[in-house]
Amino acid sequence: MSAQHATHANGAHDAHGHDDHHHDAGPHSTFSGYMTGFVLSVILTAIPFWLVMAKVIADRNTAVLVLGGFAVIQILVHMVFFLHMNGKIEGGWTLLSTIFTVVFVAIAIAGTLWVMFHMNANMMPEHPTPTPPTREAPGHSTP
């Protein structure tokens, strides 16, 4: 039994290793990888806070774009250095599901903002010319 089992394990399943559960411990991480991610994150967090707290950028739209750019870069840094994301783990399925999520989230958020702000514009006008009070309201007219 034991001899057969050993032969079996060394033969057919050697490519996977003979204990499947040891693979569930996750990818190998390194100290330098975590420190690189940490230092980059500190820089990418400090700059946006400084930009806003010191009021560096006067134009609001520019500031929003710059802050959004920093956020995207920092999210990528976290994905790569902390969550160990790459195209190879799980045969690429992790990356594929992430790309799907990113596309879905982009459509959901951009679509929501697009629809809702157009609805605001079309359904809730700000009455640029208030109606002159020439006419009496129908309810107040004398019978």
Binding site: H8, Q74, I109
Partner: protein
């Protein structure tokens, strides 16, 4: 077990016993990681909905206080630092785990938990401060969306902390067995994921709200 196999081999008339089944279930390597990742991605969709809601309602102040009047960026910066530090200390715990160092793993997990508690405490202080100023979730659509989004993130951190404590008990009782390593990997993904969500929160809610 071996009797049956020998019997089956003899019946087939072969010298070596034959097996007609796979000794191992053919499951993909590291399937837990992918499954947990899919959970995190679906969690991402919850946050996407809340971010979209905040994006729509974030400027609907109902003549109430605005983000620029309410948010204390120094507090948010300290909170961000706590969460980032807890991320790196969780990374150190994972490095100790790789070496099979139970005490080191537990120590770094405890440090992670302390930073997580600091984050949560500061967030609760901020919430209570807002409520005290009359800027509760019922004040305006902006504040409803704010409390829902930031509160959901805080709730995730709370459950992450509970998970962390439970896992520390399990590791101290059973050591770094494969099951605990798997759980540790999942919690590490969860914890780093919460930090990723917080990047979105402090950028789109706090920093852009103050602009």
């Amino acid at each position: 077990m071996s009797d049956i196999r020998i019997h089956a081999g003899a019946a087939a008339g072969a010298l070596a016993p034959r097996e007609y089944h796979l000794a191992h279930e053919p499951h993909p390597e590291n399937g837990t990681a992918l499954g947990f990742w899919l959970y995190l991605m679906s969690d991402c969709l919850i946050f996407a909905a809340l971010f979209a809601t905040y994006g729509v309602l974030g400027r609907s102040y109902a003549a109430g206080p605005t983000g620029a009047q309410l948010f204390d960026l120094t507090l948010v910066a300290i909170n961000t630092a706590f969460l980032l530090l807890s991320s790196i200390t969780f990374g150190f715990a994972m490095l100790r785990k790789q070496l099979g160092d139970v005490k080191g793993t537990l120590l770094w997990l405890a440090v992670t938990g302390v930073f997580g508690l600091c984050f949560l405490g500061l967030e609760l202080y901020e919430f209570s401060h807002l409520l005290h100023e009359g800027a509760g979730p019922q004040r305006s659509a902006f504040l409803s969306a704010f409390f829902t989004l930031v509160g959901t993130h805080g709730l995730h951190v709370t459950f992450g902390l509970i998970w962390l404590v439970v896992l520390m008990v399990q590791i101290s009782k059973h050591g770094l067995i494969p099951e605990n390593n798997r759980r540790l990997m999942c919690l590490s993904m969860f914890w780093h994921f919460l930090d990723v969500v917080w990047i979105g929160v402090f950028t789109f809610v706090y920093l852009m709200g103050v602009l």
